[in-house]
Amino acid sequence: MAGPRSIAVVTLGLILAACGSNSPTGPAAPNRALTTVAGLWRGVFAPAACTGDEAVCGNGGPDAFALQLTPDGAGVVQIDISQLYSCPSDPAPVSADVIARADGGTTRISGRSPRLDVEVDLTDAAPLQGTFRYTANVLWDLTQSTPCATVTKQGQILSASRTATISPGTFAGRWRGWIARTQCSGNCEDSDDVLKTGAVELEISQAGGHVSGSFNGWEFAGDVAGGKLTATGRVRYMVPAYPCHQQFDSNQVCVLDLDLSATVDALGRLHGTLTYHLEGAAYPGNRPYVEDASADLTGLVRWP
């Protein structure tokens, strides 16, 4: 690092991603307008109007967004809804796959997913300017069948900049999203110490073919080969009378074996599966439990 220069180093790759989206119809043909706006943008929406959940709208704050577009118009929009306290556990931005179409001096970007119905009309790409409108469903947790809040906002892009991050690997970064259990045997409850509310906080450090990180606080390490991440985590708490002691270690995880496999798609979303074996003492009652489960990670996104 010797020599005169000025650098910034960040740990978080900012390749954009989306979560649980329905793909809209096929991309438009490449044209100059779409080529100009292609890339990864991060910025802020300034809502001028908000309807729906009063607590969310009452905040009145800006919403951070990320927009990734390819030159042929395919892309994804992510928005971090300002929430106040009404839905505190929602960890991930809402997102939708989008299509951009140039029409005269305006480029319309639109798409819809179960959590987001969004339209952005760009009037300029240097800097990025335009208006937006979206309806978002904010989740409480995966056990709720209805959204915690639904809001519709519209306004203007306050600021945005194109991002150019050089990342040490496809998987490096801080990922957010949801995990859904697909199979469970043993003493299964709606939630456990791996799933928690269903919200995922996944930190991955990557150096070449080696990865390490944490999944909801549980450490793991592994490898990347052929575009696929394979990692394991092993936890053994050294409590007396291993395995779990019934006298004092209630609500204690004693053993956790987790296996994580994941890939990243063309728009930077992480998909994968997690299988885990969990032993512990439940609260209340100090009841020992054993659980074997599998779960899907469906479209985690890098955020922030």
Partner: protein, 257 residues
């Protein structure tokens, strides 16, 4: 980075934790800012460093950094070197105050962005950081003392010499709200103010506004500056006519990344 060793009351299980290291320098001398979450909350630590014979750079705190809860962080050693595979590798040795803990970590990998990419944006973007109350004038609440820490969230859009945006300060009463701000900005300096806003959710601050917020961008892309937050009673009858001004100085204000 990963925590490899922790001694003290603040230690939890080893964890992988993200960080941002911004570096500027000439010759063998470097200045930087290390942003991370040693207490689970953001802290930005000023560091200075020098090139080592093997090409690494050895940094240490120029002074301890303060978190929102007033705990402090001192980086005793941050040794980093560029790596063609991992981007950046190295190690960290720091002391956390409060329930004093000594922490060692390993830099396992890092992505890279040139600072020049941010310089072109001027003050536009999203910012977060901390300020300190230097002085209070008027009917100062007992819970707003000099030395108290203020959390700042700021978003700005700049168009020519005009700029507007929103700011949120932790010294607002009640639930967090955003104040619209407007003013002027050049490539490296800005000056904002807000309108007077009445907030019905407040028990004590009937009208509030940002009287001034003057700042500048440094070569690490951070905002330095001062601001004055004011609260006035709307009813000119005691005891409802409280009025005070808080003079605050930015401790660190960095771009969301």
């Amino acid at each position: 980075m990963g925590v490899s060793l922790c001694r003290g009351a603040s230690c939890s299980s080893p964890q992988t934790t993200p960080f941002v290291l911004s570096v500027a320098g000439t010759g063998g001398s470097f200045r930087g800012s290390l942003e991370f979450q040693p207490f689970g909350d953001d802290v930005a630590v000023d560091v200075s460093g020098s090139a080592q014979p093997d090409g690494a750079v050895l940094f240490a705190s120029t002074h301890h950094a303060t978190a929102y809860d007033a705990r402090t962080v001192t980086v005793r050693r941050l040794l980093v070197r560029t790596d063609p595979v991992a981007g950046l590798t190295g190690d960290l040795d720091m002391r956390l105050s409060g329930e004093t803990s000594d922490v060692r970590g390993t830099v396992t990998s890092a992505s890279f962005q040139p600072l020049s990419a941010f310089a072109a944006q001027g003050v536009s973007g999203s910012w977060h950081g901390l300020a300190i109350i230097r002085q209070c004038a008027g009917d100062c609440p007992s819970y707003r003392d000099a030395g108290d820490i203020v959390r700042i969230a700021l978003v700005v859009g700049q168009a020519g010499e005009g700029a507007n945006g929103q700011v949120q300060l932790s010294i607002f009463e009640g639930e967090p709200q955003w104040l619209d701000v407007h003013g002027t900005a050049s490539q490296t300096t800005f000056s904002f103010a807000s309108d007077r806003v009445a907030l019905s959710s407040s028990c004590c601050d009937r009208m509030r506004f940002l009287q001034t917020f003057k700042g500048s961008l440094d070569d690490l892309g951070r905002i330095d500056g001062t601001f004055t937050y004011a609260a006035d009673g709307r009813i000119a009858i005691k005891p409802y006519n409280i009025s005070y001004r808080l003079e605050c100085e930015v401790l660190w204000l960095v771009r969301d990344r």
